[in-house]
Assembly symmetry: C2
Homo-oligomer: 257 residues x 2
């Protein structure tokens, strides 16, 4: 058995708790021992009260502590842990391995996905990015990760920083373009769902081909007539600004990307 405890009660913590619990029921080799949260009540819908602790001194010895709390709090919390030389991994995409306090052995266990509170995810399909200070610790992280996911990657701190920025482009910014699309639909009494198959195919095509090969539309084929018509159509200043800048970026970089 691999004994794991989780520190945190937010979105990622709760998704991990649920996943570990389901795995325990089906007899996996992971045992979720304790979960630390300053506010016990935020976890009582998921765990027996005796599994939830709100004092770090109550943490039992386990093989892996997973810190799933906000980025800013990782450094100080890892410094408060009342033990030494145990494996402590954070789950953040934007923090380096070294943010974990020197008292313990450092690791990163970063699930690359956007989580929605209350909506369960299938962890099997979520890439987990791992980093550790030494091969033995890496193997512990790797064993846990492979039990919960089919997609496990060794990603160092520099790569993870890059990955996090790339994720902002393909998730946060893409979602914002979806919001603009929704706004245009709403303004014209068009159901946004009509765009869903196109949105899904955009993802599939970018992965089957590459985004560079998959690029279509007036910008890449330099169709000035359509571009002018679209710009004339867009009376919303922000929509027009984004249209112009993204069109320009595709024209200047779309082919050489």
């Amino acid at each position: 058995m691999i004994k794991v405890s989780i520190i945190g009660s937010g979105n990622v913590a709760q998704q991990l708790i649920t996943t570990f619990q389901n795995l325990e029921k089906s007899g996996s080799e992971i045992e979720l021992v304790q979960v630390f949260s300053r506010k016990k009540e935020s976890l009582t819908h998921l765990l027996h009260s005796e599994q939830i602790i709100s004092d770090l001194d109550d943490l039992q010895e386990v093989d892996l502590y997973l810190i799933a709390i906000s980025d800013d709090a990782i450094e100080s919390l890892s410094g408060e842990l009342p033990f030494k030389n145990r494996l402590v991994a954070h789950t953040s995409g934007s923090m380096p391995l070294t943010i974990v306090n020197d008292n313990n052995r450092k690791g990163v266990f970063y699930p690359l996905q956007t989580f929605t509170k209350g909506i369960a995810v299938d962890f099997k399909q979520i890439p987990i990015c791992l980093e550790a200070e030494n091969p033995t610790d890496y193997q512990v992280l790797n064993r846990v990760a492979k039990i919960i996911s089919d997609k496990v990657y060794a990603i160092n701190s520099d790569q993870r920083k890059a990955l996090h920025v790339a994720a902002v482009f393909v998730n946060n910014f893409t979602n914002h373009l979806f919001a603009i699309g929704n706004e245009i639909c709403t303004e014209n009494q068009i159901p946004f769902e009509i765009l869903k198959p196109l949105m899904e195919e955009t993802v599939q095509k970018a992965q089957t081909l590459s985004p560079e090969e998959a690029q279509t539309g007036p910008a890449i084929r330099n169709d000035q007539k359509t571009i002018a018509a679209h710009e004339a159509f867009l009376t919303n200043k922000n929509q027009l600004k984004l249209y112009k800048i993204l069109t320009q970026s595709i024209q200047e970089n779309g082919k050489k990307l």
Copy 2:
């Protein structure tokens, strides 16, 4: 039976030909009569030679002519048709109903999807946007559309123009952000496939919630520290410019969208 002929040999024309042929085999009420192409050889892999014509005068009388050619050519080609008062529909997202020559009854039959040459699509999942001058013609378009797709919408020319612009945002521009993500991954020896589940979830979440509710990331939570770290990381000028503008747009409009 509904008799249909197609004018054109490009991507959309070929997808429609294949779909109609498969439906004929399974005994649907659509009969694909002829396909017009100036270059017969571009269709010989799909059709018997006698079904392909390269002279408009050879067009037989059918219930519906579908013009699937480039936007710029629709007006002049529809003016060359050697008959009157028949139902002629184009398949373009960016052209109005009125672009079809007055000699015939005008219609629009616009499948909203990004097609890739040689990759067959499941038309059942592709929204088809219809418009006609009168209810009788609309019914003909509607019967054909419902045979090939589960998603049929009445969309007038103004709405279709808006939809086409929205599609540029959720497809062309989104794909460009994927290209930037791929570029960042490549520069840091990260496989782009690692981002695929996130890209897929971004689409699902924007449709399950709404894109406005689904917005996450440093911009919407005004996390200046992470934004500054990302901006310091981005040495590529174009990447940095897009990062700043999209971050600003989310901050200014993300919540009220």
